[in-house]
Structures are given as C-alpha cells and as structure tokens.
C-alpha cells in the first residue's frame, strides 16, 4: 500500500525559484499545469465527440475533430473550466462562509427523521403517479433500462459499496438468474424436472445465483482483494461462453424459447402480466422499495457494521473478532442473489434470452452506475442508475450509441480523480475517502494482505 504514496512529500526541499530557469518555474507552477491539463482535456473531448475514422484513414477522425472550427468551442470551454478551477480555489474561503450555513441547515433538516420520511413518501408517490403520463416508449425504458438496472445497482452497491469488494462479473449472476428462470418455466431446450410458475422460479433462480456466488467467492475472498476482481471478470466471460457454446442447454446464440410472463393465481388473486410495461414497472417498484428497506436495515445492523469495519481496515476488523471471510462472502452472495433476482424479472419481461445480453460490458456498466451514484450509498445507487440509464435514451440519435462506453470510461476516470464519493455520497464513505486522502486510513477491503494469505 505504501508504494502508491506520492513521493512529493519526501522530495528534498528546494529553495524557491533560486537558480531555476523560467521554463522550470513554469512547469512547477500549479496554475500553468492546470491550464495545460484543461486544454488537453478539451482536445480529448473534441476528439471523442468528433467524427469517426477507419483503418484506411486512421487519422481522419483526429484531423476531423481537431482541425475544424468546432475545436475552438472546446478550447473556450477548457479555458473556462480552468478559470472556474483557479477562481474556486481563491474564492473557496468566501464560498464556504456563504454555503456553510446552507449545508448545515440541510444536514439538520435531512437529519430530522420526520422530514426525511415525508420526503421519501413524496418521492414514492411521484414514482407511482408520474409514469402513467409517459408514452409507452418511455414506460418501456423505465422497466428495461432503468428499473432492472436500479435493482442491479442496489445489489452491486452491497458488494462494492458496503463491503468494498470489486466484482467485475456481476452480470454473470444476472445471467444465472435469468437462465434458471427460463429453465424452470420450460423455455430451454432441456426440459425441467417439473414446471414452475415464474414467480415460484424466483426462489430457485435466486438460490442458484447465490450458490454460484458462494462457489466463486469461497476460494477468492480469502485472498488479496484484487484477485476477486480478476476472477469475477473471468467468470463473467466464462458464463457468456457457456451460454453461447452449450447450444443444447441454453439455445446458444440463437436465444431461448419464450419465457412466460409472470402470473399470479393464488387465494382468489388472479393477475397476468403482459407485454405492457406499466404493470412490470409497479412490480419492480415494489421489489426495489422492499429491497431498499431491507438493505437499509442491514446497513445499520451488526452485519452492516461488520462490512464497514472490513472496508475501513480489514486487519483491524479481523483483530477485533469480526469473521471477515464470512462477512465478505455474505456480501458477495447477497449481491449475487439480488442480481439473480433481477435476472428473473428481466427474463420474464423480455421473454427471449440471448447470451449477448450478458456481455462483460454490462458488468462494467453497472459498476459505473454505482460509482457515479456513490459507493455505499443506496439513494446514490438508485439515482446513478436512473440518471445514467436515462441519459443515453434521451440522447438517442444525438450521439453515436456505439461510443457509449467511450464516455462511460472517461466518466469513471474523471469520477475517480475528482469525486470518488459519487454524486450522492454516503456520509460515512465520503469521510473515509477524505481521511484516506489525508493518509490516515484505508477505505476499502482491496488493500493490503488479508488473513488467509500466504506471504
């Protein structure tokens, strides 16, 4: 861990400006460096939003982006950003005197449970009423793009945010859930032992995803945290290979047979979900709210505190008697089962499953949603998923869809450099990151050797 400290602090002190050339002084000048960074950033932005090239004209994209009048707009934006950065630094004290009372009032106000719960209730009512006024396209987006991904982001948030474990094969559990549902409802080429109602299949699918999570987590969670990342990455890739190759089991690249829609026929209650998105939306809403309540309770329980302890300092947690392996495995399995659950809903909504829906990019996408929203923050995960899944749909036709991950990749780096706590951070996580920055503690379970490791 110590290797990634910057050497700035241990550089020998140098007399200010003495004997150095103007160029060296310019290089040391913080504002000049920021200006250069802003301009480079602006040029990169010009390139990524610019025209595409091809192998025969590899420079066409760059020249088209950089030797075109619109680059001036980007340069102006870059300089403005620089001015904002420099200005903010000099003004930050003044700004603080203005904003401090506001943020204090906000904290006090939001800290009041009455206010908070009425706010949640208002949001819930809004979430119930508003979608009715949307067009059927946006209702579809609300389920397929936003609802399912909100659920996935909440689940991954437990793994990445609460326990500080990096899971890059998260979508694999989603695939396991979806294919299990397809299996138990008889939509796969192999016939199940007995047919189940899709609702009942949820239990089996979630169990399957959880078991897969435990099988994968058990060998890797004893090790240094970054092994988990690479093993889950490989696992995510293997699952798609399986789905593609095992044609006689999964239907291969051609997809499964039709998975039936959800239906209820119990104690006189009879309902059949159909192609229409709105009923699915309400179903998802119920589940999301239920899971949110559950995870919130878990976060503040003994389990949640154990996760926090592991995330903040695994060795100390272990020394204080927390069974770190057990709790890490629990977090991992909980994430996996949430993902599997989302997979069932996805399967019964879209009805036909293709291996391509479970590509690695989906895992990365969900990670971006969680990071963007705020690691360890449940409202952050919901907000991040909603905003980032809505935006590409909103920009449909305005930007090239194939370049989506170009923007998301850039977003990940920018978030990590400037706002690692996300747009709606959990207060505890933000404090941990600030303390880590000051060199006081660690802020995740990835760092340092863990107990089970052979050195």
């Amino acid at each position: 861990m110590s290797a990634i400290r910057d050497s700035e602090a241990i550089r020998p002190p140098q007399s200010a400006g003495g004997g150095r050339s103007a160029w060296q002084r310019l290089r040391r000048n913080n504002n000049a460096r920021k200006l250069v960074a802003c301009i480079i950033g602006a040029l990169v932005a010009a390139v990524i939003t610019g025209p595409s090239g091809s192998v025969s004209h590899p420079t066409a994209g760059f020249t088209g982006a950089l030797f075109h009048p619109r680059v001036i707009v980007f340069l102006v934006l870059g300089v403005l950003l620089w001015l904002a950065m420099v200005g903010r630094e000099t003004l930050s004290e003044n700004i603080k005197t203005v904003t401090a009372p506001i943020s204090m009032a906000r904290t006090r106000w939001l800290g009041d449970p009455k206010v908070r719960y009425s706010l949640y209730a208002a949001l819930l009512i809004f979430a119930i009423i508003y979608p009715r006024s949307l067009s059927s396209f946006w209702q579809g987006v609300l389920v397929d793009q936003i609802g399912v991904y909100v659920l996935l982001a909440i689940g991954l948030n437990v793994v990445v945010g609460f326990a500080g474990l990096l899971d890059l094969g998260y979508i694999a559990f989603y695939a396991i859930g979806a294919y299990s549902c397809a299996y138990w409802t008889g939509a796969l080429p192999i016939k199940p032992v007995f047919h189940l109602n899709p609702f009942v299949s949820i239990v089996f699918a979630v169990a399957a995803a959880m078991i897969a999570g435990v099988i994968l987590g058990a060998p890797t969670l004893r090790l240094r945290g970054d092994y988990l990342a690479i093993v889950t990455l490989g696992f995510g890739e293997i699952i798609t290979i399986y789905a593609n190759n095992l044609q006689s089991v999964t239907g291969g690249a051609g997809g499964t047979n039709v998975v039936p829609h959800l239906s209820v026929n119990l104690l006189g209650l009879k309902y059949h979900w159909k192609l229409d998105s709105l009923p699915y939306y309400y179903l998802l809403l119920v589940f999301v709210v239920a899971i949110l309540v559950m995870f919130r309770a878990l976060e503040n329980s003994r389990v949640g505190r154990a996760w926090t302890a592991i995330r903040e300092d695994e060795v100390a947690a272990e020394a204080s008697g927390v069974n770190t392996f057990k709790y890490k495995l629990l977090a991992f399995a909980m994430g996996a089962s949430t993902s599997g659950f989302a997979g069932v809903l996805f399967a019964s909504k879209v009805q036909t499953l293709y291996p391509s829906s479970f590509a690695l990019t989906e895992s990365i996408l969900i990670l971006v949603l969680v990071i963007f929203g705020g690691m360890g923050s449940l409202p952050g995960a919901v907000l991040g998923a909603a905003v980032l899944q809505w935006l590409p749909q909103f920009l449909r036709g305005k930007i090239n869809q194939a370049d989506l991950f170009l923007y998301l990749g850039a977003l990940l780096i920018i978030m990590m450099i400037f706002r690692p706590q996300g747009i709606w951070p959990s207060r505890r996580r933000a404090r941990e990151l600030a303390m880590a920055e000051a060199g006081l503690t660690e802020a995740d379970a990835v760092s340092g050797p863990t107990a089970g490791e052979v050195q």
Binding site: I4, V55, Y227, A229, F405, V446
Partner: protein, 312 residues
Amino acid sequence: MCLTHNFWGFFVPGLANGFLYALIALGYTLVYGVLQLINFAHSEVFMSGGFAGLFTLNWLIGKHHPAGMSSVGYVVIGCVAGAVGGGVVAYLLERVAYRPLRRRHAPKLAFLISAIGASYFLLNLAGKEFGRDSRPIAQPFTQTQTDPLFKIFGTGVSLYYAVIAVVAIIMLVMLDRLVNKTRLGQGIRAVAQDADTAGLMGVDINRVIAQTFIVGGLLGGAAGFLYGLGPANVSYTMGFTPGLKAFTAAVLGGIGNIRGAMLGGLLLGIIENLSVACISPSWVDVVSFFILVLVLLVRPTGILGERLGRSA
C-alpha cells in the same frame, strides 16, 4: 489419449502462444511489483501495440512483397513500432489514470476502477478512430504463415512461430538484464521492495513507476504487433482475451515475480493448446480460467512465489 498422435503439432503453437503470454504477463507483473495493483488497462496497451505495428507496416510495405533481409528489417520495424505504441500508451495511462490518484492517496479500489475506465476508454477510442472490424497486418515475409520453415519431431514450425520465439527470447533476455544489471532495474527493485524507504534513499518514485509502466508497455506493445501479425489480426477488442490469459499466466508463475511471469506464460500457452486437442477449441478460454481459480485455491503465490523486491 488425445495427445498421443500429434503431441508436437499442438505443443509448438502452444509454445508460441506462451511466448506472447509471457511478454504480456511481464507488464502485469512489473506494475504489480511496484504498485501492488493489477493494471486492468494493460490489455489496451497490448492493443495499441497491434495498431502501431499495423499502421507502420501497412504504410511501409504497401503492395510489394518483401523477402530476405528486408523481411527481417520489417519485422524489427514492426516490433519497434508496436513497442513504442505500447510504451506511449502505458505512460499516458500512468499519468492520467494512476498518478492523480496516487497524489490523493486514493483507496486501492479507486485505482482498479480508474484503470477499468481507462481500459474502456482506450478500447472504444480505438474502435471509433480505427474502425470496429479486424484488419490484417501487411505480411513482412513472402512465405505464408502456415508453411513449415523447419521440422521438430516431425512437426513443421512455421516462420510466424519462429519469429515470435526469436523476438520474445531477445526481449525476455533484455528485460532480465535491465532489471538485474541497470540503474533503472535497481530502482524498480528498490521501489518494489519498499517504496517509502526507496524514496528516502533518493529514488524518484514517480519516475521509477512511470518507467516501469513504459517497460511493461514496450513488451506488451511488441507482443501486440506479433499477435496481430498472425491469424488473429488487429482489432480494437484484440486485447481482452490475451490480457486475461496473460494475467492468469502472471498469477500462475507468481505475480510480482519476473521469471515467474515468463514461466507462467509458457506453461499456460502449452497447457491451453494441449487442451484444444483434448477438449475442444471453443472451450479454450474456460480452461485458462479454471487454471486461474485452481492456482488461487491451491497455491495463490504461484509456482515460483510472490517475490516482490527480489523480483528477478
């Protein structure tokens, strides 16, 4: 069973693959040595090397068919171009995705995430600027890839495999000398052993880390060119699978251990290709993944052990 009749026919391509894995795995291991981090974007460094070689050779060779000494020249030029491409991208990666986080003392998770961001950014930037279909590199030799050059145990070794082996061996020996005999190598070993102490002893840590990234990038970039020269061709997604396998190789040999990465790469390439014979080509990627999980289960420090600091 499955190996009795054509063992060498599977062994030789496996060995050639193994050399490529070894070159890439060294990039992971070197960075792991100094930062204790997995460089997730290393597969994109590899991909950049492929593209650099592609553009250089397509531009230089054009329509004619080189032969004799000029073939050798073109292979060298292609390797250098690939290495430079990989080195430049690796350096930029360190500057943009790693150094700002080091300065902030960011948690390790943040490094992994920003590396994944960088990986996706580079991947899709290449896809956007260079097209999303795979392209062959103009062949620097007239002899076709599959024609045997000479025979070992009755199995023909094609020119392509011979080129990979020669280039890889030269680069591996050069790296070994670099790490063990030069001032830079001393710096790398010092930082790997204890970064803070190395800093107090006057080692410029930032500089050494950047140079380590560059060295890893040079090897990975050259491997990218060699890989693209073969039937796989060059495409923006070419890095992912070899990257994952090279990581497996690095873990197999003992991550942070330079000779371990070489050994792991060769072993993995051979095991994998023999499994093609025994199982089926479409399950190759699964095999290497199971090897990874198995190694982590049984001996997480790898065959030669994690030897940070004494990383040679």
